[in-house]
Amino acid sequence: MTDGKPILLVEDNELNRDMLIRRLKRAGLAVIAAGDGQQALELMTSEQPRLVLMDMNLPVLDGWSACRQAREDEHISHIPIIALTAHAREEDRQQALDAGCDDYATKPVDFPGLLTKIEKLTRA
């Protein structure tokens, strides 16, 4: 899992961002973080992360728009995205998948489950 490329975590809530960065690092993953959708797109282009964990309620550019833009940009469209949100209804899941996310995890995050999803999407 360590081919040099980090995982990008997009999360605006400071507490949650800090907590997830620490847990992901502890799990042995390289992590970079962004606080809004715009920043996330920029980092995706410049850093070419292996995978993106994307919160949906984001300032400046929300997660759904960021996903759609990422899918239209050929430089970054291959990067898998896991939506990470407190919206827990089935239609919220569908909305995230429609926006171009590869997978979906609800908050509070089931961390082992999240690791499995990351593993699955980055194995190829």
Partner: protein, 509 residues
């Protein structure tokens, strides 16, 4: 014309025709009987005349024989023979009188002449018989004139009677023919009329019923705007159509009411769903931190060397803060739900607003410091004592002031309060900031639950989006109102107006 009137009219017409037929029959019978009696009288009289003629002839032969005998022999007429002859003559007189009784006004004259001539003849014969035995009496019985005259008169009467009989017979025939004709015509007219009336009645009723049927089918299939208005009847069928129209009106209204009720129920249901989704979302955010940090600390504890005590303590504080935030959120949700179900009540007491506002401002210090804001307040000591719910008053201004802090950085927050000179008994409180402000659309929705100026606001500034909804509901409950004035980038001013007069406050409760 109503159906009942049509039916009655038809029935009456048929009954009249029937009555005409029966009347004709009775009149015919009566007329026939009359003529029959006259005819029978005439026939009887004719027979009687023949009989009398015969008797007269016989009697004349007898008298002629007797006269010859009297001339040629001396034989006396015996008393019994006289009696016999008198009887015979009396019989003839009786029969002639009987003829008189049978005579008609038309034959009266002929009878009178007969009676005179026959009386003369018969009296002559009586005189002959009575004077037969007396040779002194001269009897001229041979003279044929009286007998011929009487015979003549009798024949005339007989002819007359026969003529009348023929006439009567012809009248009877004519009467029978006439009544027959009238009966047949009446019968045919009845049949024709009944058939015609029946046809029109059936056609009219059928048409009306068909229209009613079409109408009920249309109404039944849900076209409640359809009206049965093509029935030209002011009677029963018209009434029936009116009743149907009335029914469909009421149905339409009822369905409209039901649809409206359903729509508002759906709306309420949708609002509840959205509320629930929002609640779920808001609860998950602090829970994510609580569970995440707890699991992380739990993992770290497994490796004793990894534990960095100051960091550990800091992380625990984050858990506690998130827990408190969660509690606030749950309380806010319960408050809103209580207000919305009408279960929120006021606990009124006298309090000094300045006291409470000062306490709120003091508790705000850490937040002010964090955002590098300054707070000014003025005029608070001049405020009147309020009679209202102090706890809710405190919550309103805690919410407004912490909001102002949250959305302002390196700015100034002003708290002002004054009695309104143009509205005696009312006090105005204002919270003004120099923060990010809102556009008109955001201002119009800012008091709705779970609405912050935009979806990213929560992300940037935190909060539940319930604070202002609670402020609005509380001020309303307390008999006052809340308003906002703002400009994007130039800060916002929230104004709360509350009654200071206890009576106004009580009236609001």
């Amino acid at each position: 014309m109503s159906l009942r009137r049509r039916l009655t009219l038809s029935l009456v017409t048929i009954l009249i025709l029937f009555a005409v037929n029966v009347g004709t029959h009775f009149w015919g019978s009566y007329a026939r009987n009359e003529s029959m009696i006259a005819y029978r009288n005439s026939v009887t009289a004719t027979q009687l005349s023949t009989e009398v003629e015969q008797l007269l002839e016989d009697q004349r032969q007898q008298t002629l024989v007797l006269a010859t005998l009297r001339d040629t022999t001396d034989d006396q007429l015996e008393a019994t023979e006289l009696k016999q002859a008198e009887d015979a003559i009396a019989t003839i007189t009786g029969k002639i009188q009987k003829l008189g009784k049978l005579s008609h006004s038309v034959t009266e004259l002929y009878y009178e002449q007969l009676w005179q001539s026959s009386s003369r003849l018969l009296e002559g014969w009586l005189d002959f018989y009575r004077g037969y035995n007396d040779p002194q009496v001269r009897l001229d019985i041979d003279d044929p004139l009286p007998f011929l005259e009487a015979s003549q008169r009798l024949k005339e009467l007989e002819q007359r009677q026969a003529f009348i009989a023929v006439q009567r017979a012809s009248i009877i025939d004519r009467t029978i023919a006439l009544t027959d004709r009238i009966t047949v015509i009446g019968f045919l007219a009845s049949i024709f009329l009944t058939a015609t009336l029946g046809f029109f009645l059936v056609r009219y009723t059928n048409t009306s019923l068909k229209r009613l049927k079409t109408g009920t089918e249309r109404i039944g299939s849900g076209d409640l705007n359809y009206r049965i208005d093509n029935i030209d009847d002011t009677g029963e069928l018209g009434d029936l159509a009116d009743a149907f129209n009335d029914m469909s009106d009421k149905l339409r209204n009822a369905i409209y009411d039901v649809r409206k009720a359903k729509d508002s129920a759906d709306e309420a249901n949708a609002a509840k769903s959205i509320f629930l989704a929002n609640v779920s979302h808001e609860l998950r955010t602090p829970l994510n931190a609580i569970i995440g940090y707890s699991e992380m600390l739990h993992d770290e504890l497994e490796d004793k060397e990894e534990v960095d005590l100051p960091q550990f303590q800091e992380d625990l504080e984050k858990i506690i803060m998130s827990g408190r935030q969660l509690l606030t959120l749950i309380n806010d949700i319960l408050d809103l739900s209580k207000i919305e179900t009408g279960k929120m009540s006021l606990h009124c007491e006298n309090f000094q607003p300045a006291e409470i506002l000062t306490q709120v401002c003091e508790s705000l210090a850490p937040l002010l410091q964090k955002q590098n804001n300054t707070l000014q307040w003025s005029n608070l000591t001049k405020l009147p004592t309020l009679y209202n719910d102090a706890t809710k008053f405190r919550q309103i201004f805690t919410n407004l002031l912490s909001n102002a802090c949250k959305f302002t950085e390196n700015g100034c927050i002003t708290l002002f309060a004054q009695s309104l000179p143009e509205r005696p008994g009312w006090v105005e409180f204002g919270v003004q900031d120099t923060g990010i402000g809102m556009d008109a659309e955001q201002q119009s929705r800012v008091f709705e639950a779970f609405v912050q100026a935009d979806s990213s606001t929560t992300a940037n500034y935190g909060g539940t989006g319930l604070g202002l909804a609670i402020c609005r509901d509380f001020t309303t409950l307390m008999g006052g109102s809340i308003d906002v004035e703002s400009e994007e980038g130039a800060g916002s001013t929230f104004t709360v107006v509350l009654p200071s007069d206890p009576e106004l406050a009580l009236a609001a409760v």
